[in-house]
């Protein structure tokens, strides 16, 4: 605030208060002509036959006005109000917010402290902890994995005990903390249209779905030489590569012929973002326990 505006506001405020005080003081007595014993006159206002007396104001009311003026002056000394004057108490809304935030932070640390000392297995059986876990999940994870953690197209189901990157406590904590990245390269160019069609039939057969048996036999040859590098000879997947198990009829993308052949041809890239920077360790601890509990 420039000096001019600061002065302007100060002068304006103080002048107004002084004017109020002057009006109050100047009106305490008036000159009146006439007989001292006459009755109080009406103001002359008449409405529906109701007239208004011109009675004096009670004195305590006058004192109340004085109290408000004194209160106002004390306020202006203690708190900011007169231009750039900061007030003796040095109050700012930012400071007030800071105090509240520190209190909230302390409350938060205290309440999470209890849970941080418990093991994930223990936490997964604690209803209170799991409620907090659910809320954390709803705020941070449900956007992709769904409110029920049942997954979405391209986002794994976390409730079926089928894990791309491992379902142990350590695996889950690592996944949330550091995120995951998995890449299936496109095979269309390498194995050709026929290869893609055959491998698709073979993959369908692995989960016992309806398939062309002749093509599946040819597909197995291609699979064993190319796909098995990551998915394994038994097609049960690999935690190291994040390659899914192809024999359990659980699909990250849908399990129909069209989708599978698209996956084989063009490949897939999938990323789970790291939460280390977003959530603190104690939140990840609780969240891991919640996710751990989902498939138990």
């Amino acid at each position: 605030m420039t000096t001019f505006w600061s002065l302007w506001i100060t002068v304006l405020t103080l002048t107004c208060i002084a004017l109020c005080a002057w009006i109050l003081w100047a009106n305490r007595k008036i000159e009146k002509h006439g007989d001292a014993n006459e009755e109080v006159k009406t103001t002359g206002h008449v409405y529906d036959g109701i007239e208004e007396y011109n009675n004096p104001l009670p004195k305590w009311w006058f004192y109340l006005f004085l109290v408000t003026i004194v209160f106002g002056l004390i306020y202006l000394v203690l708190y900011p109000g007169l231009g750039s004057w900061k007030g003796l108490l040095n109050w700012t809304s930012v400071n007030e917010l800071k105090v509240d935030q520190e209190k909230a932070r302390a409350d938060y640390v205290n309440s999470y402290d209890v849970y941080s000392k418990m093991s994930i297995e223990e936490l997964s059986k604690n209803d209170e902890a799991m409620k907090i876990g659910f809320r954390l999940f709803a705020n941070n994870c449900a956007v992709c994995h769904g409110s029920d953690a049942g997954g979405n197209y391209g986002f794994p189901n976390l409730t079926d005990d089928d894990w791309l990157h491992g379902g142990t406590v350590e695996n889950i904590v690592a996944t949330i903390t550091h995120g995951r990245y998995a890449n299936m390269p496109p095979w269309g160019e390498v194995i050709g249209d026929k290869g893609v069609a055959n491998v698709t039939e073979y993959v369908l057969s692995l989960s016992g779905l309806e398939h062309d048996a002749a093509k599946a036999v040819e597909g197995k040859v291609v699979f064993d030489t190319t796909c098995s590098a990551c998915h394994g000879m038994d097609a049960k997947g690999s935690i190291a590569f994040g390659a899914p198990n192809l024999t359990d009829d659980i699909w990250l993308y849908e399990g129909d012929r069209e989708t599978i052949s698209k996956t084989v041809r063009y490949g897939r890239v999938n990323r789970m973002p790291a939460q280390k920077e977003l959530l603190r360790d104690d939140k990840i601890h609780l969240l891991s326990a919640y996710i751990y509990s989902l498939s138990r």
Binding site: K29, I30, A36, K59, D148, Y153, N157
Partner: protein, 477 residues
């Protein structure tokens, strides 16, 4: 048109100064006994006891009446009310207002004179004043005489008792917002490693002392000034009076011409009415008016002048009721008409509204449920041979106990509930539980099918709620 200033002034008209701020004159009321005093006392005792004892009463391990502002809930007897029940409070206030209208139309401002806390506390304070300093004449004398030990003792006793009552009032009032046992025990600080520890929040102590101060100032010093200058009801109740409203009036026809006489004298022979002009009706008046001048806006219908006048009439062996609760019509024609549309209109409105309120509270469910379709990327999920939909069930437990809930599904499709994990939901908690509803692809006929979700408390099947939503499936080709 002539300017008033141009007119010659008479010699009697002198210039003088008038104070525009009127110092209030102290009212010294005389003590009086009679029917309306007894009525007020006996009606007041249960109300006062109710006010004082209610915060101490415990129901379901919680205060019987507690307006728990920091936790956003009101415990009233057997029910706990939540912010979403606020409409009920609005209803209650509207009903209370209409009850006031009904009563005012019938018997004038008896609310002011008999039940308003301002009057009740003022009269308690006047009673104490009377007890400590004696009756009207003694008090006037005491105030005029110079300070001496007796005056100091009497004044100290009065203000001490006033403050004590004010504190009891303030603490009781705050006791409706903070459990009163906690509040009072918190007034005694404990010491911990040389530090004074206050267990009651500073805000509660602040409000207790503020209400103590306000009670003391209101009932001790401001008294009728509140009714005359602050209270809005006092002003608008006047417009509800009609010709058949019963209120305190002086029977002018019977009383005039007023004048002193001996009890043995026949007033008619002296040309006098029944009013002996003893001025008792003025001396007992807590708002300092003369009822014989006709009804005035200050009059709170307290009936003190009625009792005062009746006691004089008894002494004079005149019939009672020179000042009485009566209507304009009765004074004019001898009859009050109670059967008037205004009064019955108010009565019917009050009864209907009360009925609706009682019905609403009686049928109020302590379970609030909202069903939302999950806001995920896709509206349905294909899981093997099934189609799945996800819903979030927001459960608001407004009951006084922790509940776990069972979920039942109903509708035209063979719905299966999956992934429902029952959680104990504590009193007052709002928790959203996700559920997954699964239907075999083969059963689906439409893109959208109605789904009815019923939530039932495990330990009390009466606590239940039903919500309707839809089940979405891929387009059928």
């Amino acid at each position: 048109m002539t300017q008033p200033s141009e007119q010659p002034e008479s010699s009697a008209n002198e210039i003088r100064y008038v104070n525009l701020y009127e110092p209030s004159s102290k009212i010294y009321t005389r003590k009086v006994q009679g029917f309306y005093q007894r009525l007020r006392r006996y009606a007041g005792i249960p109300l006062m006891l109710g006010f004082l004892l209610m915060p101490w009463l415990v129901i379901d391990n919680r205060p019987a009446m507690l307006f728990d502002l920091s936790n956003h809930k009101f415990h009233i007897l057997f029910v706990t009310f939540w912010p979403q029940d606020f409409i009920l409070l609005a209803w209650l206030l509207i009903i209370a207002a209409f009850m006031l209208f009904t009563v005012t139309v019938t018997v004038g401002r008896v609310w002011c004179g008999f039940t308003c806390p301002q009057t009740v506390w003022t009269l308690i304070y006047i009673w104490i004043e009377n007890f400590c300093e004696g009756d009207r004449n003694k008090r006037i004398k005491l105030d005029k005489q110079p300070w001496n030990p007796e005056k100091v003792a009497r004044k100290t006793a009065k203000h001490g008792l006033w403050l004590l009552i004010a504190f009891v009032t303030g603490a009781t009032f705050v006791g409706y917002f903070l459990p009163i046992r906690e509040l009072l025990s918190g007034f005694f600080p404990s010491f911990n490693e040389g530090q004074i520890v206050w267990h009651t929040p500073a805000a509660a102590i602040f409000w207790t002392f503020l209400f103590t101060l306000f009670t003391y100032v209101n009932a001790g010093w401001l008294r009728e000034q509140v009714c005359k200058h602050m209270c809005p009801y006092a002003r608008f109740q006047g417009v509800m009076y009609d010709h058949d409203t019963l209120y305190v009036q002086y029977d002018k026809a019977r009383g005039e011409t007023r004048g002193a006489r001996k009890p043995t004298e026949d007033p008619k022979a002296k040309g006098l009415g029944d009013c002996v002009d003893c001025s008792w009706c003025v001396q007992v008046c807590p708002v300092d008016i003369d009822i014989r001048d006709g009804t005035q806006f200050e009059c709170i219908n307290c009936g003190l002048c009625v009792d005062a006048c009746n006691s004089i009439m008894d002494k004079m062996n005149y019939p009672r009721g020179l000042i009485r609760f009566t209507s304009e019509d009765e004074l004019a024609t001898g009859r009050t008409n109670f059967f008037r549309p205004r009064l019955f209109g108010y009565l019917i409105i009050v009864l209907v509204m009360l009925g609706v309120l009682v019905y609403t509270i009686y049928n109020r469910s302590p379970l609030g449920v909202d069903v939302l379709r999950d806001r995920s990327a896709r509206m349905y999920r294909v899981q093997g041979k099934d189609i799945e939909n996800v819903y979030k069930i927001n459960i608001n437990n407004m009951d006084r106990a922790t509940h776990t809930y069972t979920i039942e599904l109903d509708g035209d499709l063979p719905y299966t509930l999956k992934n429902y994990r029952p959680m104990p939901i504590i009193e007052g908690e709002v928790f959203s539980l996700p559920i997954r509803v699964s239907v075999p692809k083969t059963a689906i006929q439409h893109e959208s099918t109605d789904l009815i979700i019923r939530i039932i408390a495990d330990d009390n099947p009466a606590i239940t709620a039903t919500e309707k939503t839809v089940f979405m499936a891929p387009q059928q080709r």
